[in-house]
Amino acid sequence: MPEQLTGAQALIRSLEHEGVEIIFGMPGGAILQAYDPIIESPIRHVLARHEQGAGHMASGYAHATGRVGVAMVTSGPAATNLLTALQDAYMDSVPMVAITGQVATTSIGNDAFQEAHTWGMSMPATKHNTLITSAEEIPDAVREAFHIASTGRKGPVLIDVPKDVLADTMTWHRPGKVTLPGYRPAVKGHPRQVTAALDLIERSERPVLYIGGGVVAADATGELRAFAERINAPMVTTLMARGAFPDSHPLNLGMPGMHGNYTATTALQRSDLLITIGARFDDRITGDPKHFAREAKVIHIDVDPAEIGKIRFADVPIVGDAKAVLGQLLEEVHGREPAPARQSWFETIESWQTNYPLAYEQDPDGPIQQQYVIEELHRITGGDATIVAGVGQHQMWVSQYWGFEEPRKWINSGGLGTMGYAIPAAIGAKVGTPDELVIAIDGDGCFQMTGTEMITAAVEHIPIKVALMNNESLGMVKQWQHLFYDGRLSQTELSPHTPDFVKFAEACGGVGLRADHPSEVAGVIEEALRINDRPVLIEFRCDPEAMLFPMVPSGGSNDDIAMSREDFMSVEDPA
């Protein structure tokens, strides 16, 4: 006899069939039914303290593991709380499935208790979404959601399930084959374009591989390395691609863009050929697109055809999966002449590296500079850690100063710039890769948004480390007020000692440590690394006046890169 299940049981079983090991979420009225079968399910549930946190946890999990992250929350306010995490994942192409409870089908549209139009609100914030109207649909809807989330350009998919659908009974059946006549993501690139790309590369004197997060998403880092070495081209890795190629590799110039290093930004600017893979000419990279890399022809490889030609014309467009296309390029380049030495290009690059390095000074008497903390963390851990950042100055400093060697060990909110991302995303990453050392490097502004997820980390035994860079301000915004508003500070200074972050960490069930002075930095890091049964937070009392450079003013030309505050003033005021 066919098995009869409730919609809720079918939902949890469908998730089990997808291989889901973890759900991040929080129960509530409309989703209550689905929380009952979780008791017997082998799936672990991590109880977040806020639905946005659950969403970022799923995102951190997906970043760290490459698998689809799952968040489950109730209707109304829970769904609206989740929206930020959905938009965040959408901007950064993170594979996620979100399940939201909804009021009963008979109440939809009646302004029922905890009703929100989740389907409509999440539509532009997801790759796809669906409202289930009968329990029978559940197995296919779940299969479809995982398929869409994890193929093509990855992204979040939301399934909205009304309460009565979860309570109804259905005849269990395994999902059928996904039939989406309008959804066939490209995999292989057009062979003629592959040839055209290699022809351009052969002729190029100043090529740059411009690598974005798509290479990490496609797990194409091995192919990337082989290709870069074969064609002998320097590479820049965007914020989302840090770790796609070892920073220690001589071809890697690091991060370009608004806060990128001089060499990476300028190499793009002076290039005659951008070999763009899984990157999207974001405004944080290009500055004013009219002034961006004016002499460069463009090869643009992307799985999403809409990215090609959106900002910058592509001389050679290649729609396809980064791994597949790099495989094609490698195969075809094999039979060609060895790559030219491009000696003069590499000499130019080297001279930039020598003349315009990243630089900071740590006064031994303090205050603590964030760069110093990052370098000490790297030294003491040997760089063997997954780093998760919030958004702001600290995020950029980590990207600049942490030497990334492997993919999926750098997790941050790139496109949306979601403050508060670090703590929940670090929890998700740690759950997904429990043997890794996971360090959230966060700002005090960010931490006060989602720091309550420290409770989740403690209660659920998820021993993350938090390096809290307390500069007593919304540092990046304050920097802009200094640079663009004559130093008129408006609402960017946070209270210096409230909350007491050490006590806060302890109140949450973790360990709190503090370093006030540069001489204490190494010691507290070592102490934190010895504690592995609880989350540990180290508050570093950092320089509130420190500014982040290099910097290209928003909307400016990448030719006008400022290396320091003095440099910035001279760029702003040429007189």
Binding site: H128, L131, L180, G182, D304, P305
Partner: protein, 166 residues
């Protein structure tokens, strides 16, 4: 420059909202949009008339929507394009004969006659509707209702420019 795109979509709830939300979100201007059934009950056809230069992006962004099956830009002049409108015109007794004569020449059908107005139905290519409106403007247009455009390519083989085979 107006462009006409034929969009075959899966006949699923909310697909119109998905398309219109995408247009709003990306800042594309819709001049008109019609949607209706096709010969295949699983598919609906949208005919979208858009303004502006971003055709390539519009087509690509449409394709990103999971329920969009095929997007075809119809070349001006090579597609059969139709609109329908109802237009109510001032027509007192003195000018009624003159207006009816003008309407006959334009293939407009009088569908309602009131004390001081006549309402015409005009169906045809968009230019015919425009011409008739211009003609009637001298008498005074009291009310106007216009459908969006529907369109089909004239010939499968030679006239449509397929932007990407779906």
């Amino acid at each position: 420059m107006k462009h006409v795109i034929a969009v075959l979509v899966e006949n699923k709830p909310g697909v119109l909202a998905r398309v219109s939300t995408m247009f709003a979100r990306r800042g594309f201007n819709i001049h008109s949009l019609t949607v209706g059934p096709t010969e295949d009950p699983t598919l609906s056809r949208m005919t979208v008339v858009v303004d502006g230069p971003e055709m390539e992006q519009i087509v690509k962004q449409l394709y990103k929507l999971i329920h969009i099956v095929k997007v075809t830009e119809l070349e001006p002049g090579t597609a059969i394009e139709r609109e329908i409108m109802l237009v109510r015109v001032n027509a007192d007794a003195k000018r009624r004969g003159e207006i009816l004569d003008a309407a006959r020449v334009s293939d407009a059908k009088a569908v309602d006659v009131g004390a001081n107005t006549i309402t015409f139905e005009v169906t045809g290519p968009p230019e015919r509707l425009a011409d008739f409106l211009q003609l009637m403007a001298t008498y005074g247009i009291v009310a106007l209702a216009k459908s969006g455009r529907i369109a089909l390519p004239r010939d499968q083989k030679s006239t449509k420019k397929q932007l990407r085979s779906a």
